[in-house]
């Protein structure tokens, strides 16, 4: 029984992180119709920036904010100076571009920050809560994770649905030409979209790192899981990204606990294929698939 509880709680905490990453992917997809495979190393680099600050003696929270800010900047820079030139052209080229970025950022991180495994602190307790005699596998940091992602979600919803800026961003994502005609500065909206997405991605990078080990490849698995979560929920749907993330986290945790952790990536692949073959639009599909 304890094992089940542990597994579910771990899955929930991880799932929320995958949800955040999936959300980042969905934001970018909706804006520019590109899957940003380079999101993982982007998040990894911002986490390293935080680590540098923390190692130099500054508080965790300063590092945290620095990571989020650098995420914003990095997302904006990448969109403005790299991705803009392939938007709207061949799909294959866009994917290859993000993969090229993946490799570049990876190598840069290894050169600048080193490839050693470094430990990343966690601001809240890492001891599980005591309930009577047993310890449940929810830590202070786990609670913080769930809360942080929740706050970000709510913030984004408020932004998109409640503000003028959000409206303009949604318009740019929906139909660039019309939005331009209506006076929306589409370019700037796209840049902003990428920046926000990168911020969310940075958050997930920080949350995964907390209390664990950081090295240039530590986010690589997450890009796969985030993608699967996004597809599961529907690449067009932010709500779907969150639901997909949590569902995926739970399923993978169950596989890890009861079957074996080595098969987790395979389980993710199976889930992905099942979704793509049965309901390609995802659980919350809003766009019908075009069949030939």
């Amino acid at each position: 029984m304890q094992q089940l509880l542990t597994t579910v709680l771990t899955g929930l905490t991880l799932g929320v992180i995958y949800a955040a990453f999936a959300l980042a992917l969905v934001l970018i997809w909706r804006a520019t119709r590109i899957v940003n495979f380079a999101q993982a190393p982007m998040a990894m680099i911002t986490t390293y920036i935080a680590l540098v600050l923390i190692d130099a003696g500054y508080s965790y929270w300063l590092g945290f904010v620095a990571a989020l800010l650098s995420g914003l900047v990095l997302g904006a820079v990448v969109e403005r100076f790299v991705v803009r030139f392939v938007s709207g052209k061949s799909e294959v080229n866009a994917v290859i571009l993000t993969l090229g970025l993946f490799i570049v950022l990876h190598a840069l991180a290894a050169i600048i920050f080193g490839s050693r495994y470094r430990s990343f602190p966690a601001p809240f307790g890492l001891r599980g809560f005591q309930v009577g005699d047993t310890t449940i596998a929810l830590t202070g940091f786990g609670v913080f994770t769930i809360l942080a992602v929740g706050v970000v979600m709510v913030g984004l919803v408020l932004l998109f649905r409640g503000t003028d800026l959000g409206l303009r961003m949604r318009a740019s994502a929906f139909n660039q030409e019309v939005s331009r005609l209506l006076g929306v500065k589409v370019g700037r909206m796209l840049t902003l979209g990428w920046a926000l997405a990168a911020l969310v991605g940075s958050l997930s990078g920080l949350l995964i790192a907390g209390g664990g080990l950081v090295h240039p490849s530590y986010m690589d698995g997450v890009v796969v899981y985030g993608f699967v979560a996004a597809v599961l929920g529907g690449l067009d749907s932010p709500v779907g990204a969150v639901v997909g993330g949590v569902l995926l986290g739970l399923s993978l945790s169950l596989v890890s606990g009861y079957v074996g952790s080595e098969l987790v990536p395979l389980a993710a692949l199976v889930i992905l294929m099942v979704v793509l073959l049965l309901k390609p639009g995802g659980l919350f599909a809003s766009v019908r698939e075009r069949r030939v």
């Binding site: 304890q2 094992q3 542990t6 771990t10 965790y60 080193g114 490839s115 050693r116 495994y117 430990s119 602190p121 966690a122 601001p123 809240f124 307790g125 890492l126 001891r127 599980g128 005591q130 047993t134 310890t135 596998a137 830590t139 209390g211 664990g212 080990l213 090295h215 890890s256 606990g257 952790s261 080595e262």
Partner: protein, 440 residues
């Protein structure tokens, strides 16, 4: 049509001629490599180490120990007039990389011998190649049995440190005598390292072992393994793992409230290193990482930085002060220097004109009598290339290992465990450089 025939014929003729002309290309019958890497004034050796990756904490410092000692020896004239050059390449604890860098070391750098290549999974990938290429593969930095238990199949390979099976035996014996009712769980690296340790432990503890959890180096989530051990009600965990996983297992156990007694293999238990990894992990939760290790058991076969008055430690401190790189002397650097010391002994034993086959023979003949910093003697003979024969069981308190047993010596399989401190009293020579005379 005809042009095609002519073209092909011409090409074929060119091919055959060119190939035949190749006969004059390189000198044939190159010496079976027996003096590769040696000149009159230098001898080049090499090794692969995890300078990056999950096994780098701790292990990446070992080469600096080697380098410091070789610099010391070179400054005092080298061995038989030859200075030792030590080339180190990073394999990131990844066997595929090990294969690649070993290829580079043997074919491109043309080393005389590989000395102290590190890692069980990594070195396994290249041991056959080194033996096929007849490159001496000396003093592997790992306790796997492979390096010494099959001298017929792997004549060029030698172990150095006590192997994991005898470590498992000695610990198992202590547990059986002192904790006969404890439920024992094993935390193993999922390769020969873990398997050899398990073999040794099961010799005495087979009926006490209730759970076995394995991890893959590279996957840093050990929560499932700890949960498994906790669910089985384990009182004592025997861990055969690398230092990062000592820290990880401690941290996860903290999180899930799992509080057994711990034992970690000597390759994963350096208190200073693990303490520093732990203290970093959690601001506030673990303020003093080293104290988390109080009560943890391990084994010891070399005196370390917690015994600065030991004559060997005084020598290592002197060598490090004179020739060491940045940073303090750590137990991993002591390990490296101790290995380097043994290599210098082997080189001396090989005589003034060493060859690859010659150094192998010299170790087989004389290695058993090398006096060095190890607390137990080597087992090198023609029939066994296994390294040190024993160690003592210690408990860590305040960063220092306190002896629970005297030096215990044994061998593989059924061999009994005996007390033997004949080698524990060996003192270093006054100038810090061994003086081994070649046989004959």
């Amino acid at each position: 049509m005809k042009r095609w025939y002519a073209g092909t014929a011409l090409l074929l003729a060119m091919a055959v001629t060119a190939a035949a002309c190749g006969a004059g290309g390189r000198p044939e019958g190159e010496d079976a490599g027996s003096t590769v890497g040696i000149t009159d004034t230098t001898i080049k050796i090499g090794a692969h180490f995890p300078l990056t990756g999950v096994a780098a904490p701790g292990y990446s410092e070992i080469p600096s120990g080697h380098q410091a000692y070789y610099d010391y020896v070179n400054a005092n004239g080298g061995v038989n007039g030859r200075k030792i050059e030590f080339v180190v390449k990073d394999d990131a604890y990844n066997p595929t990389n090990t294969s690649q860098v070993t290829n580079e070391l043997v074919l491109n750098d043309e080393i005389f011998a590989m000395v102290s290549g590190l890692g069980t999974p990594t070195h396994s990938a290249v041991v056959d190649y080194l033996n096929d290429a007849k490159v001496p593969d000396l003093f592997v930095s790992s306790g796997s049995l492979q390096w010494g238990d099959w001298p017929k199949e792997k004549p060029f390979t030698f172990g150095w440190q006590p192997d994991y099976e005898i470590e498992g035996k000695i610990v198992g014996d202590w547990v059986k005598k002192n904790m006969p009712d404890a439920k024992v769980g094993l935390f193993l690296q999922d390769d020969d390292f873990g398997r050899d340790g398990e073999k040794g432990a099961r010799r005495y503890l087979d009926d006490q072992i209730v759970a076995v959890a394995k991890y893959t180096p590279g996957n840093t989530d050990v929560a499932p393994q700890m949960a498994q051990l906790q669910a089985a009600g384990v009182d004592l965990v025997l861990g055969f793992n690398v230092p990062s996983y000592t820290a990880l297992s401690q941290l996860v156990s903290l999180r899930i409230g799992f509080k057994p007694k711990w034992f970690y293999s000597n390759v994963g238990s350096d208190p200073a290193l693990v303490g520093s990894l732990l203290a970093r992990f959690s601001e506030g939760a673990v303020t003093d990482g080293a104290s988390m290790l109080n009560g943890v058991m391990t084994t010891e076969y070399l005196k370390g930085v917690d015994a600065p008055d030991d004559p060997w430690m005084k020598l290592w401190q002197k060598v490090w002060d004179e020739h060491g790189a940045d940073g303090d002397l750590t137990n991993y650097r002591v390990y490296g220097m101790s290995q380097a010391y043994t290599f210098v002994q082997a080189l001396q034993a090989a005589g003034p004109n060493p060859t690859r086959e010659g150094i192998v023979e010299a170790i087989e003949k004389q290695g058993g009598s090398f006096e060095g910093p190890g607390v137990a003697p080597f087992r090198f003979t023609g029939d066994s290339h296994l390294g040190m024969s024993g160690m003592s069981v210690v408990e860590i308190q305040g960063g220092v290992g306190e002896d629970l047993t005297p030096v215990l010596v044994t061998d593989l399989g059924d061999a009994p465990i005996k007390e033997d401190d004949s080698a524990a009293g060996d003192e270093p020579p006054s100038n810090g450089i061994p003086n081994v005379k070649p046989a004959e």
